[in-house]
């Protein structure tokens, strides 16, 4: 295909908009565009933030005076549990995802994220999951065991109702969507950038998001696994956390905080990324210490996985072990201080100008530094043993999260809102809004440190008046309403901005990043043609670059075969590697999201057969995704403009989908590692061991490995056959037959286990086999998908991706199956050895 003659900017715009745009009316449900979905994520997150805020007001109303009778403990427990859950899972995480989805392609010089349909599916899962969680409040059955759901309180005997199930299923639903977003963000940053943008030239925001997304990839699986195990315990009596049957309440705490501590940095880092983008613009100087900041955030990411135990200083772990975690917790202050001083140095060496976003950055500085200082205090074991679970911690965590996330997000809102709307504010309501929020926040939470030191435990619904807490609580409650007024004013300002904002031409803040080298409001395709990055991406010149790109002078400044195209690059060097072909708007993500919601609802009400049917329907809908998109012929390198060519994504060895599988398997493997950790942890630490009966090797157990091994071999055979240009369908069918054989063998091995509800030993062994069972079933799906894609003409020797993915999945299933079976076979020996040692 030869290059089309250049179009005028207007005609190019119309041609691109026609294929990239989302239609009006009901067609909005078919949106897969990152600009549309990024805005939806952020708006939805803000709505959940408002709901969470209302809950906070109810909490403060109850605590305003001693002996208050506004609500009783039954309602109060739901209020604080829901406040935490909403703010953490339905506000902070989706908000940062929305910001990343909206900004990343624009900052990286790409036209969209790597998997637009997955973005949309993730959005629908988030929205529907969020609605389930919030709706539970209307029926008075909201989660009531606190946002970290400590067992055994959240287990069946002590929370018999549906409340805890709503948390476990709803939050897991939202988390799986967040995990898929994390995979997508990682791949998009690594693969879909402007030509020439080597890793070392990437804007810092992309670095921050890359580190954040990787942390999500490794941080979320332990929580997802823990939630699944707890739901299995609640629904089917598998006693993973029940101390009377070989489980341990502390296992939940480890799994939860293994996620929960990195979570704090997952929330903080994107906000810091926004700050690292905004501060240089207003300092009118490049950021100080670009490489030092990258080193700091990578160090932060690693450290944050090594200090979850500082949430558990009072559970009775030996002091020397605590000392290690205490030192590690103190150590995270260093990479944080590096960033703070890099920002200060940027301002000190620049020519700072004070605009509204900087006002909110100031709020961040003052509030977050206090949160950081109290964080170091809490890292000290003896002090934490006093302050833990008191209002001191409540004050600390609000200083960290509001200082480290909400204030930067408000700064980001005022900085990027003109980008979203193409308007700038005329009313300066942002200033009084800031002072109300800033003063209201500090009055609410500063003295709360003292409330905690004076002994007020968190999560009490009322208090007598002889403890000296009365005036402190009244102050917090009254000030909380000032804070709320500030947020109401902010919301009003946003509405006025949309309605009355004044239009501006281009690059309002004179920013040096690519996100401003496009029309604002942004078009659906972001860039009419893609830029080349020759220097550092934070030293771009949007004012001259924008018109050039709009005129089609960059790469891909044309429309070909009505395809949505952007460029894929080599991860490190940023040289052009392929043309990524993205999907058009489609209703399928909405349909799949609705079907997945059916699975969750059916499980919630314990209709497991219906849940299974919905799960099958969901996977069937995924096959339609598969049918919609692909290339039916080998075409070799195609023109990308500027006289250069690149092959389409289906014909290269490392397209986005391949890397998504690699990272997805890394996340999956982390979940499996957490399961192995759980099995060994219970063996080593849990009370009520040894078990009354020990799982011995059954015949079926021995057959699991050959079955999985043969299925993996068949996948390899199918891939080889296809690579040599022959029809792989026979081999794929054999592989699927072997998957079914593996499922049968695994089912029989499961049936041969002693009653898994009797003891955690049996339950963990059943969970290991169940994990393999699930993966064999998904392997069957991978094989079917490859078979169908071959049939639809999407596979050839040069376009082998579905067969490669099928093989990767089967190899992963084999390795995890091997480890699982090995542990089961080793367990009798391990139990014996430990008993002998005792």
């Amino acid at each position: 295909m030869s290059e089309s003659p250049p179009l005028s900017p207007i005609r190019l715009h119309k041609a691109l908009e026609r294929i990239w745009g989302t239609g009006p009316g009901w067609q909005r449900l078919s949106a897969v565009n990152h600009t549309v979905l990024g805005k939806r994520f952020m708006l939805t997150a803000f709505v959940f933030f408002a709901i969470g805020g209302v809950l906070a007001m109810l909490i403060r109303a109850q605590l305003a005076s001693p002996h208050a009778a506004f609500v009783g403990p039954e309602i109060y427990n739901q209020l604080f549990s829901m406040h935490g859950t909403l703010m953490m899972f339905l506000f902070a995480i989706p908000m940062l995802e929305g910001l990343a989805i909206y900004l990343l392609p624009k900052m990286l010089g790409a036209r969209d994220m790597a998997f637009p349909r997955l973005t949309a599916y993730g959005y629908w899962c988030y929205l529907f999951g969020g609605i389930i969680i919030v709706a539970s409040m209307l029926f008075g059955v909201a989660p009531n065991s606190g946002w970290f759901m400590y067992t055994p309180l959240s287990s069946q005997p002590y929370t018999p109702g549906i409340n805890a199930d709503i948390w476990l299923l709803g939050v897991t639903f939202v988390e799986i969507s967040a995990l898929s977003a994390a995979i997508e963000i990682t791949v998009s940053i690594l693969k879909l950038r402007a030509p020439g943008m080597a890793l070392g030239r990437m804007p810092l925001f992309a670095w921050y998001m890359l580190v954040t997304a990787m942390m999500m990839v490794f941080g979320f699986p332990p929580l997802i696994l823990g939630s699944i195990l707890l739901e299995l315990e609640r629904a089917f009596g598998l006693p993973f956390f029940d101390p009377t049957r070989g489980g341990d309440a502390l296992l939940w705490q480890h799994l939860f905080w293994l996620f929960g501590h990195p979570e704090v940095y997952i929330i903080f880092l994107p906000a810091a990324g926004a700050l690292s983008t905004i501060i240089p613009v207003f300092a009118q100087r490049r950021i100080v210490g670009y490489h030092a900041i990258i080193a700091a955030i990578v160090a932060l990411a690693f450290l944050s996985f090594g200090l979850w135990v500082h949430h558990m200083f009072t559970v009775g772990i030996p002091h020397l072990a605590l000392a290690f975690f205490s030192a590690a917790s103190a150590l995270v202050a260093i990479p944080t201080a590096v960033q703070i001083f890099a920002w200060l140095a940027t301002l000190a060496h620049g020519r700072p100008r004070f605009e509204v976003p900087m006002l909110y950055v100031m709020g961040f500085f003052l509030v977050f530094v206090i949160g950081g200082l109290t964080g170091v205090m809490l890292a000290m074991v003896p002090f934490d043993q006093q302050a833990h679970d008191s209002y001191f911690v409540v004050a600390h965590l609000h200083y960290v999260l509001v200082g480290g996330f909400v204030f930067p997000m408000l700064a980001a809102a005022y900085y990027w809102l003109p980008h979203v709307t193409g308007r700038q504010s005329v009313h300066r309501i942002s200033v009084p809004a800031f002072w109300l929020i800033f003063i209201g926040f500090n009055l609410t939470f500063f003295m709360m440190h003292l409330t905690g030191l004076m002994g007020m435990p968190r999560r009490v619904y009322t208090y007598p008046s002889n403890f000296g807490w009365d005036w402190l609580n009244l102050l917090s409650s009254v000030s909380g309403f000032i804070l709320t007024m500030g947020f109401a004013l902010f919301a009003m300002d946003i509405v006025l901005h949309f309605r009355f904002g004044r239009r501006f031409r281009r690059n309002l803040w004179r920013a040096p990043t690519l996100d401003w080298a496009m029309p604002t409001r942004p078009t659906s395709y972001a860039f009419a043609s893609l830029p080349t990055v020759t220097g550092h991406a934070e030293e771009a010149d949007p004012d001259t670059l924008g018109p050039q790109l709009a005129g089609g002078q960059g790469y891909l400044g044309f429309v070909r075969k009505n395809r949505l195209e952007t460029l894929g690059v080599d991860m490190t060097t940023g040289r052009v590697e392929h043309v990524a072909i993205l999907p058009s708007p489609t209703y399928l993500p909405f349909i799949s999201g609705a079907l997945t919601t059916g699975v969750v609802l059916a499980m919630l009400f314990k209709f497991y057969i219906i849940a299974l049917l919905f799960a099958l329907a969901t996977f069937a809908s995924f096959l339609f995704w598969s049918r919609e998109k692909g290339e039916r012929e080998d075409c070799g390198p195609i023109a990308i403009g500027k006289g250069e060519t690149a092959p389409p994504d289906a014909e290269v060895s490392g397209p986005s989908a391949y890397w998504a599988m690699v990272i997805g398997l890394a996340a999956n493997g982390t979940g499996f590692a957490a399961l192995l950790f759980g099995a060994l942890y219970l063996w080593l630490v849990a009370p009520a061991w040894p078990p009354p009966q020990i799982v011995g090797p059954s015949l079926w157990l021995w057959l699991v490995l050959p079955a999985l091994g043969l299925a993996s071999l068949a996948s390899r055979w199918a891939q080889g056959t296809n690579a040599s240009g022959r029809d792989p369908r026979l081999q794929l069918s054999v592989g699927m037959g072997l998957d079914i054989a593996a499922l049968i063998v695994l089912s029989l091995a499961l049936a041969a286990l002693p009653d898994p509800t009797a003891h955690a030993h049996m339950a963990t062994m059943a969970a290991l086999l169940g994990y393999s069972w699930l993966h064999a079933a998904l392997g069957l799906f991978c094989g079917l998908n490859a078979l169908l894609r071959y049939r639809w003409g999407y596979v050839s020797a040069r376009r082998p991706l579905p067969l490669r993915l099928n093989l990767m999945w089967h190899d992963f299933t084999l390795v995890t199956g091997l480890l699982g079976v090995a542990l089961i076979l080793a367990m009798p020996g391990l139990i014996g050895a430990l008993e002998a040692a005792r």
């Binding site: 403990p73 039954e74 606190g146 400590y150 055994p152 309180l153 002590y158 009377t244 309440a249 502390l250 100080v288 210490g289 030092a292 700091a296 009072t314 559970v315 009775g316 002091h319 000392a323 103190a330 150590l331 202050a333 260093i334 590096v338 703070i340 001083f341 890099a342 200060l344 140095a345 940027t346 301002l347 000190a348 060496h349 020519r351 700072p352 100031m362 500085f365 206090i370 200082l373 170091v376 205090m377 890292a379 000290m380 074991v381 003896p382 002090f383 043993q385 006093q386 833990h388 679970d389 003292l450 030191l453 004076m454 002994g455 007020m456 435990p457 009490v460 403890f467 000296g468 009370p687």
Partner: protein, 227 residues
């Protein structure tokens, strides 16, 4: 009995102590353990005030005196403020806190302290006295004053947390586990305790009282205590 305070700001601290007094106040310590932590707190508090003023002052100077920081090279800012300063301060602090923490542990003593069992159930504490034959289980914790006591903390259902703020930090009561915390009340008197870990609808009311008796009266007081 007034403990010697180790740093000058602590004099000011003790002046503000009266405002911080309360039956559950960690800043009104009545035993060596809580006292050590209160000292640690005041050290950290004043250090934090200084650090906050430093960062806040730098922020203000950046705006009020543009260019004031140019004499210090950009990376100097990052190295001095981001690495050197926190590196030194944190090393000192972690060492100090580790030293305090080690001293508070229930180490074996030549004269083993009496043991009292604290068993948490939804939503009350049951205290029993294995060292004293014939003692009943009591809802109030009785301890001898002026000497350490080891409290063996267990749970019969969900996770609770044993906390007498004026005497010591808290320790969780976890079903299936057995934790020990050493507490000491310097003088006879009544102290308040709470359950610190959220444990359901009755969490708020899961409070208890500690009565510290003169050592010579202790045994008798336990035997006479009403269940």
């Amino acid at each position: 009995m007034k403990r010697a305070r180790i740093l000058p700001p602590l004099a000011l601290a003790s002046a503000s102590l009266s405002a911080c007094a309360g039956p559950l106040s960690t800043l009104d310590p009545a035993g060596p353990s809580a006292d050590a932590v209160a000292n640690l707190w005041w050290v950290m508090f004043w250090a934090s005030v200084l650090l906050f003023l430093l960062v806040g002052g730098l922020w203000a100077l950046v705006w009020l005196r543009p260019g004031f920081g140019r004499s210090l090279a950009p990376m100097r800012w990052v190295v001095l403020g981001g690495l050197v300063m926190p590196g030194v301060l944190l090393t000192l602090l972690v060492g100090f806190a580790l030293y305090i923490g080690e001293r508070l542990l229930p180490h074996a003593l030549a004269d083993p302290p009496p043991r009292v069992s604290a068993h948490g159930i939804m939503w009350q504490w049951q205290f029993s006295y294995p060292d004293i034959a014939g003692a009943a289980t009591t809802p109030t914790l009785h301890i001898p004053a002026g000497a350490p006591v080891d409290i063996v903390v267990t749970s019969g259902d969900v996770v609770h947390s044993f906390w007498v703020p004026r005497l010591a930090g808290k320790i969780d009561a976890i079903p299936g586990h057995r934790n020990v915390i050493r507490i000491q009340a310097d003088r006879p008197g009544t102290y308040e305790g709470v359950c610190a870990e959220f444990c359901g609808d009755g969490h708020t009311t899961m409070r208890f009282r500690v009565e510290a008796h003169a050592p010579q009266d202790y045994r008798q007081a336990v035997l006479e205590a009403a269940p």
